[in-house]
């Protein structure tokens, strides 16, 4: 920094020295961030340019791995599965969570206890939840088909059917994470002013109109926060899918994460797996930017 070495005036020199001493304080953070985030990231990028399977020598292939991914039907399908799963696993809890929040926002007996019971699924460990659902999904011995038979419906194949597997997995996510959305929205509802409702009632607005034109716009920023959190969670979902279906039947529920896991830890194709990570990173980045953009817009209104 030449400006620091050759200060033109006394005041500037003082400032420069102060600035220099500030740099010292960010060094620890810089080292930590560099070591645990930047370096692994760059290293992944570097590995993605190699054709490297553990147990054999690595060859530099440049963008070869990415080129192969573009033509890899299984990988492209896994991206679709990820989007399909994420869309459902964000939208359904948002709707149900908002509805639940509206209910719990009202006064009724035992509200506190019931609210406590409602958030209990959130406290359970994902793998344990997945194992229990696996048993419930079982086509012969599972409780879900028993319940269907009670109401006279034919048994379903649930996660054992290629077409039903993703909606069934979303069911688990919905059960597990709707309470989280409910909590966030409930917090938003508690902060709402009462005046707009009073004046709207005077004007003869219906309950639906109150919700649609007052409540919804006012809690929108909270909904976006919930959507951001859910999107991150849904995109990175691994445990539930891995435990319940392992990506199957066939590849019907194989998301990017599962494909990545297989490539890296079952086939040991480190180069290919690194390329998948980079592509996944770009997808997450684009989605995050999109959601931030939406958030800015809701703030403005």
């Amino acid at each position: 920094m030449p400006a620091i070495v050759m200060p033109p005036a006394r005041g500037a020199r003082f400032l420069a020295r102060r600035r220099r001493s500030y740099y010292l304080f960010i060094v620890p953070a810089l080292v930590v961030v560099g070591a645990v985030i930047v370096f692994p990231w760059l290293f992944t990028l570097w590995m993605s340019a190699f054709d490297w399977t553990i147990g054999s020598t690595a060859h530099f292939v440049g963008l070869g791995n990415y080129q192969k991914l573009l033509g890899n039907q299984r990988f492209l399908e896994s991206i679709l599965h990820t989007f399909y799963f994420t869309a459902l696993a964000v939208a359904v809890p948002l709707v149900l969570g908002t509805a639940a929040a509206m209910i719990f926002h009202r006064e009724f007996p035992f509200r506190g206890v019931l609210r406590g019971i409602f958030v209990m699924p959130m406290m359970a460990t994902p793998v344990a939840v997945a194992l229990v659902w696996t048993m419930m999904f079982h086509p012969q011995q599972g409780v879900l088909n028993y319940l269907l038979s009670l109401v006279g419906l034919p048994p379903s194949l649930w996660v054992y059917s290629p077409t039903l597997v993703i909606p069934s997995l979303v069911l688990v996510e919905v059960w597990h994470w709707t309470p989280l959305v409910m909590l966030i929205v409930l917090g938003g509802l508690a902060a709402l002013p009462t005046e707009p409702y009073e004046s709207a009632r005077l004007d003869g607005a219906t309950e639906w109109q109150l919700f649609r034109y007052i409540t919804l716009p006012l809690v929108a920023p909270f909904l976006v926060v919930a959507a951001v959190i859910r999107t991150i969670d849904a995109l990175k979902t691994f445990d539930t899918i891995y435990v319940i279906t392992g990506g199957g039947p066939g590849t019907a529920s194989e998301t990017i994460n599962l494909y990545l896991y297989l490539q890296a830890f079952a086939f040991y194709n480190i180069g290919n797996a690194s390329a998948v990570v980079v592509v996944f990173f770009v997808i997450v980045l684009v989605l995050a930017l999109l959601l931030l953009h939406v958030r800015e817009k809701t703030k403005w209104s």
């Binding site: 553990i54 147990g55 054999s56 079982h138 012969q140 649930w158 054992y160």
Partner: protein, 453 residues
Amino acid sequence: MADREYDKGPAQQRRRLLQAGLGAATLGAIPGAGQLATQAQGTFDWKRFKGEKIEVFLVKSPRGDLLTRYHKEFEDLTGITVGSEMIPEQQQRQKAVIEFNSGNTSFDVIAISYHVQKRLFGKNKWMEDVRPLLADKSLTDPNLDFADFSKGGMAWATQPDGRIDSLPFNIDPWVIYYNKELFDAKNIAYPKSFPEIVDAAAKLNDPAKGVCGFVARGLKNANVPVWTSFLLGYGGTFVDANGKLATDTAAAVDAAKMYQTLLAKYGPQGVAGFNWNEAQSLFLQGKAAMWLDGIGFAQPLEDPTKSRIVGKVGYGVMPPGPKAQVSAMFGDGEGISSFSKKKGPSWLYLQWAANKANQFRILQAAAGAPVRNSAYLAAQSSTDIKAPKEWIECMLTSARIALPGLPVIAPVTEFRDIFGIALTNMINGADPAAELKKATAEFQPILDKSEKT
């Protein structure tokens, strides 16, 4: 009496030997008394590495449990302390590869699944060749009795270049468990050919009662040995002499068609998601007439707290196919990490683990099929075996006709994944020939690459 000997201390056993007035070597030839020989100390100095400590990396399984239970015996015998880690096989395999690849391992001795890891470990020379150790008289117990290991076991433990980088421990031939009650009710005999299996499955399949004719793994990856069991009977192979896949040949397609018929038509609903445990629980409940899987499941099937069909289980040898009678086989053993600094103590551990007493214990606990011939001889005269006699006979016959149930190549897991998906698709209605063609085309370049580097 004889089969209880090894529960006593080495000193007592030695006394017995002296009483008999026979050398340990001659004793080894007597059935049932073979277990004594290994631990008779004679001239061999088991204590030469006294005070050292080795790390053993095992797989959580009935065999892993068995070795861990008797580690104290090894510690008393040698004065070596054993630190052991035992984790589920998927995680054990991952951890092993990562550690070996890093060029340094935290363990000295490792349990290996031959059907998955043999080629990968052999290619990279990750495990020590035990031939020089075998030749070293000061390190090898004269009573190891190398000739006692079965051919199948040694075939697993020997690499293509002749290196022996492990001692075999157990083989796992595939058999058909059948429900005698269901068979008798319809007056059907155990099938004697492949068409008879399909025939029996068709007759016994009774969806109205919730009983299926046949159950086996449908879950991708896990399902591949079911198909290869048929493939080998149809005279098929995995890879030809030129390294070209033979997985879309007529034999392979016929085997796949049989797989599709049995599972999609006469299997339970949702079988595409079944691994061995789902299949087992169905069979335990008496809801399946036949179940094809590895031989190690006698214990739960005969356990009254878990099984509704105790005493009604038939243990059937894989019937002959159109070309050959083959039982697809898995196997496991123990080897010494090439990076270990304690090869001597580790070699003692290997000898102890594969000794006659431990081999006999596998049978006793119905934990698998031992690789030592003496274990079966001992079992015939023993009254201390919980497993049914029929199971032991089935195992003996199966071991004789056993061939590796998976190709001995490095990317086994990818092979299982790609062909597993094809098989699952078939259960859901896809055409076997087309699926196999697609899978073969997808896997051939992966195989070529793995053999080149």
